[in-house]
């Protein structure tokens, strides 16, 4: 409510009440009874009280919390007002004079007391009405607002009829309206929904306050019916105000009387309600907590701890279940336990002929043993320190599979009620999700770790390939190798044998991935060491084959080409161990150089050596030599057609005048244009040599 309105609503009574006071003083001394002024007077009083109502209304915030305090405040105000009324009554100085049907106070003091009593009682009545209204409106139902409005209307009608100029003579109508008003206020008094939400302590306070408010309002109501001083004072001030205060006092008495009775009868069931409330809150908190814990061990320990708290269990343990694939039985892993040892668990679970775990695996339902000692499913659970009381076992079900069981025991028979079962079942659902999450996260972390390892392998492997192309006078060399996965199986390398001679190797390890990379590393080692001691390519291949046979798996092999370029002699000597033929482009034409040879790792011994040829080529200026792996020739387009050898020759011939690098890039571009997509299915390697000459 805006400050302006608040100020106005205070100012109006502050101005009008004194005005009325002055008028009343004058009226008591001078016999002035002008109806029109009396009318104005009543209006002034009405307005003042309306303003007061408006003011108090604005001050009241929703009493969602602190109900006992509000009622307590009301009690204090009521009591104070009654004390004031008492004091005033004991003052004997008031002289009353008959005026018509009323007894009217004489003298300034008398008038003052009359105004004072009326204003204070009126204010009290307003405060009480508003407090009661807040209580009634605590939890609104369909008719709440309407019923209260009806009461207000009846109340105001009753008060209106008491106005001097509206005085109804029909006593029946007046009584009828009175009765109607009382009926309405009783109807409204049934709205006691605020009681339910109080804590036990708050309820006890309210019982006391309600009782006291009942008595004080009764007293007030009686006070205003009998010929008491306050009654005379208020009646002479304003009859309508008298009706207002009296009816509201009845309302207060009835309402708080009912509140007293309701709260009293509510006490026994309060405990259950409170328990349900706290269970709900704990369940909510625990479920949230459980889904935040990701570490598996933390999670399962938290779960068992919380089981104890949530249902007040004595012991608790959590088992993970895996049904054996051959449908044999269930294998169970105990992952967390509280207040119970393994022997006790075993004793309890082994059952008497049928195992509890088996039962649960089949039924996938909750299992309750109300009396462990007496139940046939757990009978025979003896042992050194048997578990006593009752057992509750709840299945953890994910995707229709039993993944675990959450157990709890209480050390008294029949200790688990339906609420406990419901709560634990709900909790178990959250636990299942949390466990699945935890597993997924662990798997995800593992995958991430493996991925990191692969990235490391990739980096290491990149370093196994030449970081730069050798600079050796008469040769223009360009090379590239691209793997389809992070780690590939293609290999190429250069080794400077001496100032004149350069060794070149291009190879392909069968398979892909990390194992291929390992073989590649081995081949590099073998190549680098053997190249120093083997004068000819053929000799190197034979010795390499011999070395590799032991470490290669049965189904693994390596294809390799080893060539030695002699700058002085302008010669290229090469041997081929099962690898793709070398494309040799000279100014006359081209050739697919394909000396006989077996792949490495296929056979040991004499057969390999016998089958491996060596070939020598004399190079002329401008000759181009292309080494490659089958990732080039086997690249496919969408139709399934392969790039093949012919296209490779074609593009090499076409670009033979360009530099080695340009030839290399042209071949790559040609392959990509052919396949149409950016991704390749296999590792691709190209080494282009161009003989420049001296």
């Amino acid at each position: 409510m805006s400050r302006f309105k608040r100020i106005i609503s205070v100012v109006i009574p502050l101005v009008l009440f004194p005005a009325v006071f002055f008028y009343d003083v004058i009226r008591s001394t001078v016999d002035l009874d002008v109806p029109s002024i009396a009318f104005v007077r009543e209006i002034a009083i009405l307005m003042s009280f309306f303003s007061l109502y408006y003011y108090v209304n604005g001050k009241k915030t929703r009493v969602k919390k602190g109900i006992p305090r509000e009622i307590g405040k009301l009690l204090v105000i009521t009591f104070s007002v009654l004390v004031l009324a008492g004091i005033i009554s004991l003052m004997r100085q008031i002289v009353f004079v008959e005026k018509g049907a009323l007894l009217v106070p004489q003298g300034v003091m008398g008038v003052f007391l009359s105004v004072l009593t009326s204003v204070v009682m009126g204010a009290l009545s307003i405060i009480m009405l508003i407090t009661v209204r807040e209580l009634i409106f605590y939890k609104r139902k369909k008719g709440t607002k309407r019923n209260f409005a009806f009461y207000l209307v009846a109340l105001i009608a009753g008060c209106a009829l008491s106005l001097p100029f509206l005085r109804a003579t029909d006593r029946l109508a007046v009584s009828g309206l009175y009765v109607l008003t009382v009926i309405l206020l009783v109807l409204n008094s049934f709205r006691q929904s605020w009681i339910v939400y109080l804590s036990r302590r708050e309820k006890i306070y309210c019982i006391v306050y309600s009782a006291l408010l009942f008595f004080t309002n009764m007293f007030l109501s009686v006070l205003l019916s009998n010929d008491s001083v306050p009654n005379r004072l208020i009646s002479s001030f304003s009859q309508s105000l008298h009706s207002f205060v009296q009816l509201n006092a009845v309302f207060g008495a009835v309402y708080f009387g009912m509140a007293f009775v309701s709260t009293l009868f509510h006490l026994p069931t309060a405990e259950v309600f409170e328990r349900k409330q706290s269970e709900l809150t704990s369940l909510h908190n625990l479920s949230r907590l459980v889904t935040q814990v990701f570490d598996f061990n933390d999670l399962v320990n938290t779960v068992t701890q919380m089981t104890l708290e949530v249902i007040g269990a004595t012991t608790s343990w959590l088992e993970l279940v895996q049904s054996s694939p051959d449908g044999g039985g269930v294998s169970v892993e105990l992952v967390a336990q509280r207040n119970i040892n393994n022997d006790q668990i075993d004793e309890l679970m082994k059952g008497n002929g049928f195992s509890i775990r088996q039962l649960m695996a089949e039924s996938k339902k909750v299992l309750v043993v109300d009396d462990i000692a007496g139940d046939k499913r757990t009978k025979g659970a003896m042992g050194v320190n048997p578990v006593k009381g009752c057992l509750l076992s709840v299945p953890l079900i994910s995707h229709n599979e039993l993944i675990g069981i959450l157990h709890a025991t209480k050390d008294m028979e029949y200790g688990f009620d339906q609420d406990d079962i419901d709560v634990l079942t709900t909790f178990a659902d959250h636990v299942t999700i949390a466990i699945e999450n935890s597993k997924l996260i662990a798997r995800s972390l593992e995958r991430e770790r493996l991925h990191q390892e692969i990235m490391v392998a990739q980096r290491m492997q990149q370093r196994l390939l030449p970081q730069s192309v050798p600079n050796i006078g008469a040769l223009d060399i360009s090379a590239i190798s691209e793997s389809s996965y992070e780690v590939g199986g293609d290999y190429y390398d250069f080794v400077k044998l001496n100032d004149d001679r350069l060794g070149i190797v291009v190879g392909d390890v069968s398979g892909k991935g990390v194992s291929a990379a390992f073989y590649m590393a081995e081949v590099k080692g073998i190549f680098l060491s053997l190249s120093k001691i083997c004068a000819s390519p053929r000799e190197l291949l034979v010795r390499a084959n011999h070395t590799l046979m032991d470490s290669l798996e049965k189904n693994a092999f390596i294809s390799l080409i080893y060539a030695i370029v002699d700058i002085r002699k302008a010669s290229l000597v090469l041997a081929r161990a099962g690898h793709c033929p070398v494309a040799y482009i000279s100014k006359d034409g081209f050739e697919m150089v394909r000396p006989t040879g077996l792949g490495l790792g296929l056979t040991n011994g004499a057969l390999f050596e016998e089958s491996t040829e060596e070939r020598t080529i004399n190079m002329s200026e401008g000759d181009v030599c292309v080494f490659y792996t089958d990732g080039i020739t086997e690249s496919r387009r969408a139709s399934g057609e392969e790039y093949g050898y012919d296209r490779l020759i074609e593009i090499a011939v076409k670009t033979k005048e360009s530099s080695a690098e340009q030839i290399r890039d042209s071949i790559l571009q040609d392959v990509r244009a052919f396949t149409g997509t950016a991704t390749y299915g296999d590792d691709m390697t190209l080494v282009v040599l161009k003989w420049i000459g001296h």
Partner: protein, 118 residues
Amino acid sequence: MSDFKIHHREGEGVNVIELKGYLDAHTAPDLENAFQKLLNEKHFRIVVNFKDLSYISSAGLGVFMAYIEDVRKNQGDIKLTNMSPKVYNVFDLLGFPILYEIYKEEKEAIGKFKDGKK
């Protein structure tokens, strides 16, 4: 890319495996299982017919390498027949013809078994 079928028949004391489709890393285990089964049943005279095979990768080649030793140790053999030029080239590049008997026609291979009792 992984359509692969194996058809197995028996006749004249020889087991013939017909391969159809693509033999690569994905489908190689199927062929491994077939060979393993034959070995378990002590059938060591095997002919593999490549008539309908469109593609073979190094993984596919590896399968043959894995089983040839055991088969030969038991006086048997795996003979390869009816390869398309493309498939034959793959074997030829690696020098398989030096190690394995490769025939144009299946009956040649079967005949060889009958002749040499191998």
